[in-house]
Symmetry: C2
Subunit: 371 residues, 2 copies
């Protein structure tokens, strides 16, 4: 066992003990230095700097790693487009262009649909259930297996919580109202909405406002009140729908090149892993903290909150299940993860229905009214 | 800026670079050693070893700190009673008997009721809202101010999620059914239940089973399915009530003697803070992961799940508000924290009602049925 020094407030006696320890440690210094090299790595992200939750989380992650290593492990964060485009993060880490990336894995469902499990599937796990699946439910191992062919080590590193369903120029009362709707969204959501007659549109964030204003599109989803407020969509599409069934939570992830990660000293590996875990809570906390006030401001400036009818939710749920069955039939990798995830989703829903949901429902009944 | 070394897979070239770095670093070694002393600290907890979530979280926290410091900062975890009794953790850290403690601050409401805010108040914040309040909503600063007179630095370091309301020998349909009920519970909950005619009983965990079996008490609350299962209460009090309005979440906290913490090198301070944050997610994830299966087993062995009626919840909510008004009237410190917390609770309920709750409700409707 190493010699024990107990830190106490700065006293002469204590300073002397520390000083002795310093002298003694000179012998061991090469080993210490070897285990604590100066590193400067680059992290590319899929977010603009204006998103203080997503971009802010990446910078917080870098700061924590720096703090944990006395500044020896320095990670420089680059917003979308500064080194690689927003949706080239996976490629950049896989190819070794950079050591690290921070992104939402569902951006890459074009490579394979299973990547969505690392972010969310429509009608999927809420943020707590996703965290439970990743920390204790076998999700992390399945995701690591999925990312192995990309030579990427992957960590949960943030979550938005349940997103809003989006901004609509007209009210959506029935499934019929969805037919022919030009809706800005992407990935698996687009495939599900297509089954309901919606025409999905891929449009960059900055182009949503003019497209809605001109009527080129009829609806658009982004994130939730805090992030949406910056786009000003309530002025051109005032019906703001909930719940965001497509993203009951959305996890964002840290990617590290596998061989880069393997080459790190153990304490640096731990710093990366624990900083990701800490930022996971930090980011969800920031969304949950910032959304209520943003929602109040949006409503004050004209947004009209609407809840999807059960009919609309049920049609979307059924279309989701149909898509998952189709993907499972043709993609064994998807089927393997889906079967585990689906059983998990069912058991978590059962437990949340018995207790957590009863508590939240009563609190909403007593306190959750605007005023 | 420090010299940059990029780690790559082990190659001769890379090994040579690292070796050069090691040689160069010898000059700086006394500083390195001074900033990274060998420490062995003791953490006392309020939990028996059998609780693999609470006790397990403490051991995980110690492991993370060790991993982050290459084993230099070694924390030994002592279960309840091994060094000090379960409910003497605050005193032990305040008095400097040990450097660290892990406990639930509401155990100490006898010292002052405000300490409950660091765990939960009945009809309070759910786990995500508590995290949001602590990370971004001003809660952490208020808690630090509260703990300053105890010379304790306090960190959120775990959460149970919503607890169950407890085990009852008979069904509780109306408020009248609560009158005269001998109910094992404590703290502020006991004071609220007293207003409803309940007779609160303080009984150690190990004594609950025989007390229910003999009819010395009529009901008892503990935590939730995973922890409750070990007590076997379904055999002697089969009605298992939800929601646990008294603990919509329950945060547990890491205490560090303030002067001990102040004496730590910066990277060790960060290790303690980030390990606490990581364990916060780890523990809640473990509860959320383990509770569904435990609930199924409890039901299979005789537990009957019951939901409190709205009448009962409303009576308990009103009695809670009455207690908070009384405490605010006579305790300015309580009033200051309550006013901030109460406004936060209201805004969070509003936002969760609009979105998160709608999503969870639909998922429970579609998936959350036993079968």
């Amino acid at each position: 066992m190493p010699k024990t020094i107990t830190t106490t407030p700065l006293t002469r006696r204590n300073a002397a003990v520390l000083s002795l320890a310093a002298t003694a440690a000179v012998v061991a210094s090469p080993a210490v230095a070897q285990s604590q090299p100066q590193l400067r790595w680059r992290m590319v992200t899929s977010y603009p700097k204006s998103l203080d939750t997503l971009d802010g989380g990446c910078r917080m992650l870098a700061k924590i790693v720096s703090d944990l290593t006395d500044g020896r492990f320095d990670i420089q964060v680059f917003a979308a487009g500064e080194v690689v485009p927003a949706l080239a993060v996976l490629d950049a880490v896989q190819n070794g262009t950079v050591e690290m990336g921070h992104t939402a894995s569902y951006y890459y469902v074009g490579k394979e649909p299973s990547l969505a499990f690392d972010t969310c599937l429509p009608f999927g796990l809420n943020a707590r259930q996703q965290n439970a699946w990743m920390t204790h439910g076998g999700g992390a191992a399945l995701m690591q297996e999925l990312f192995a062919p990309y030579n990427i080590k992957v960590f949960p590193a943030g979550n938005t919580g349940a997103q809003m369903a989006g901004w609509f120029r007209k009210e959506i009362a029935t499934v019929e109202d969805l037919r022919g709707l030009k809706f800005r969204t992407g990935g698996l959501v687009g495939q599900i909405l297509t089954k309901l007659g919606v025409v999905p549109q891929q449009i960059a964030a900055g182009d949503i406002y003019p497209a809605l204003e001109r009527g080129t599109i009829d609806a658009a989803e982004w994130v939730g009140p805090h992030d949406d407020e910056r786009l000003g969509l309530q002025k051109v599409a005032r019906y703001y729908y909930a719940p965001g069934w497509a993203e009951g939570s959305a996890q964002v992830s840290l990617y590290v090149g596998q061989s880069r990660f393997d080459g790190l000293p153990p304490a640096y590996k731990s710093a990366v892993e624990q900083a990701s875990a800490a930022v996971n809570t930090w980011m969800l906390g920031k969304y949950d903290n910032d959304n209520p006030a943003a929602l109040r401001r949006l409503v004050a400036s004209g947004a009209q909150i609407r809840l999807y009818s059960r009919e609309v939710l049920t049609a979307a749920f059924d279309a989701s299940e149909q898509l998952y069955a189709e993907l499972s039939a043709k993609d064994p990798k998807f089927k393997k993860i889906f079967d585990a995830w689906n059983a998990y989703r069912r058991e978590e829903s059962l437990w949340f229905r018995v207790n957590e949901l009863q508590f939240d429902s009563y609190m909403a009944f007593r306190l959750g009214r605007p005023g």
